[in-house]
């Protein structure tokens, strides 16, 4: 059974229709990437999965319908969203931001251990733990957003442009950590990225979206062979 199934998903902002019936599925443990130009509907798809936009169509997570559910209930099923724009609680400290990520968890001891684990992934966040999160640099806030999502101990992570605003070296580091989390903790990931080369290097499956529709899908190896994809997204 697929971990996530999306069937004929449609969404609109007011009168403007953004998704025209997207369908895709992902397996448990997979890293799947959605590729597409600006405005293709990638961010909207992630927002739709979290119940943040009004949608039509079917969405199932681990067999359960999640369309028409409240965001906070979807999160409680184990879906963590690293939102576009980072979603930092700017007036709270770095550590408070991280603790909020574990808000729904009851296992206090494990939360403390996870906090330590996050700090070992991102030592910069430990240095900044008492600092107001709004004063962190863009890159640090991006790490904070990913870390906050990890604090949920999610089954599925929705990553909206995690490399945004990061220096190339940090992007590599971050993607390394994501891969490790995926392999060691079997966290499935749905990744939206401008950086198609990085995304295809990390993911095992890819869907190409154009103006709110899936136009191509398959394993990353197959997708990389596609001439149109190579020209449009990889630039060679």
């Amino acid at each position: 059974m697929a971990l996530l199934e999306v069937l004929n998903l449609q969404a609109a902002y007011g009168q403007t229709k953004v998704l025209h019936g997207i369908s895709f599925a992902m397996e448990e443990g997979s890293i799947t990437t959605l590729l597409g130009a600006n405005g293709a509907g990638k961010t909207t798809t992630l927002r739709a999965l979290c119940g943040m936009v009004h949608t039509e169509g079917e969405m199932r997570f681990a067999g359960q319908r999640i369309d028409k559910r409240a965001t906070e209930d979807i999160v409680r099923l184990g879906i963590a969203h690293v939102p576009d724009g980072r979603g930092t609680f700017v007036n709270l400290s770095t550590e408070e931001n991280l603790r909020l990520g574990a808000y729904t968890r009851q296992d206090r001891d494990a939360v403390e251990r996870d906090l330590e684990r996050i700090y070992s992934y991102f030592p910069r966040l430990r240095e900044r733990r008492t600092q107001q999160a709004g004063t962190l640099s863009g890159g640090e806030q991006q790490m904070l957003a990913v870390s906050r999502a990890l604090m949920l101990r999610p089954k599925l992570m929705l990553l909206d442009e995690p490399s945004f605003g990061l220096a190339p070296l940090l992007v590599k580091e971050l993607f390394g950590i994501l891969r490790a989390v995926n392999e060691k903790e079997h966290v499935s990931m749905l990744l939206v990225e401008q950086n198609a080369a990085m995304a295809l290097a990390l993911a095992d499956h890819a869907y190409i979206i154009e103006t709110g529709r899936v136009v191509l899908s398959g394993s990353v190896d197959a997708i990389k062979q596609d001439d149109a994809v190579r020209r449009s997204y990889l630039g060679y």
Binding site: A70, E72, V75, P83, F89, L92, R99, Y103, T104
Partner: protein, 290 residues
């Protein structure tokens, strides 16, 4: 000189009460960016409940805590039933609802308990404490109760996960939902807490101003001045502003302008702060890039 010290200390006692109401205002303001004009009347209504409980034979502190609990529930219910449906309406519509709430609570209380002025007991002894000649024991007690209340609130918001979630929900509702916080309930909880704080302020001020349905009118104005003076989005500022307004009001009333013009102090402060420094002493100055 004695007279002056006495006025300052008495000012601190009422200032603590203004600080509590100002804090209640700030709590709702932080979450909704609206000033709850019904905050004072809610406190007044709670104080009547306390009066009724005491008259029914309950010991003072029993009535006190029962009233605080009742006010909390009342605040939550009002948010869920009355405020929630108009949540996304334009600000003016919500403010009109607040004013309606003010008028309704005022008249309902008058209808149930009549508009005649009643005396309200103080839990503190008649004779002054430690033989001091400056403050009545009710004044000292009111300051003590206020300080305990403020400390409890500080600890709640600073050190508990629920307090953290409430702060998060007020600042960034969208991100809060994404970590699983039930933002709507946090707002209801905020209303409950604000009503509970207000009820304590009401019970502390009632022995001084006596119990009548209009008793909180002046207090709300002073509290509003205090919240603005401290910065309407700063809880610490509201507390500071409350004590400052209390002292200013008392000292100016006693030595400069006389008791009749006391309330004008609050109005002058409100207008003064809004024209000279809208963000108050500790408020954030909001700068927007265009």
């Amino acid at each position: 000189m004695d007279q002056f010290i006495h006025q300052v200390l008495a000012g601190l006692a009422t200032g603590g009460i203004y600080a509590s109401v100002a804090l209640a205002l700030v709590m709702i303001y932080q979450a909704t960016h609206l000033v709850n004009f019904a905050q004072g009347e809610l406190a007044m209504f709670s104080t009547y409940i306390a009066w009724a409980l005491i008259n029914a034979g309950l010991p003072y502190w029993g009535a006190f805590f029962l009233t605080v609990g009742f006010s909390f529930v009342l605040g939550v219910v009002i948010e869920r039933v009355i405020i929630r449906p108009v949540e996304n309406f334009p600000a003016l519509a919500v403010v009109v609802v607040f004013i309606a709430l003010l008028v309704i609570l005022n008249s309902v209380t008058g209808w149930i308990y009549s508009f005649t002025i009643k005396s309200f007991p103080s839990p503190f002894p008649e004779q002054t404490l430690f033989g001091n000649k400056y403050m009545s024991s009710h004044e000292i007690g009111a300051i003590g109760v206020t300080l305990v209340l403020l400390l409890l609130l500080y600890a709640f918001f600073r050190y508990t996960p629920l307090g953290l979630a409430m702060r998060a929900a007020a600042q960034n509702p969208e991100s809060s939902r994404l970590v699983g916080i039930r933002v709507g309930w946090m707002l209801a909880l905020g209303w409950g807490l604000a009503a509970a704080i207000g009820s304590v302020a009401g019970m502390m001020v009632a022995p001084i101003v006596f119990l009548d349905p209009n008793m909180m009118g002046g207090v709300l104005l002073y509290a509003f001045a205090a919240a603005l003076l401290g910065g309407i989005d700063s809880p610490g500022g509201a507390v500071f502003g409350g004590f400052l307004v209390g002292v200013l009001e008392n000292v100016l009333g006693a030595f400069v302008i006389g008791n009749e013009l006391k309330l004008a102090v609050a109005l002058v402060l409100i207008i003064g702060v809004l024209t000279v420094r809208p963000s108050g002493f500790f408020g954030k100055v909001h700068v927007t890039r265009v």
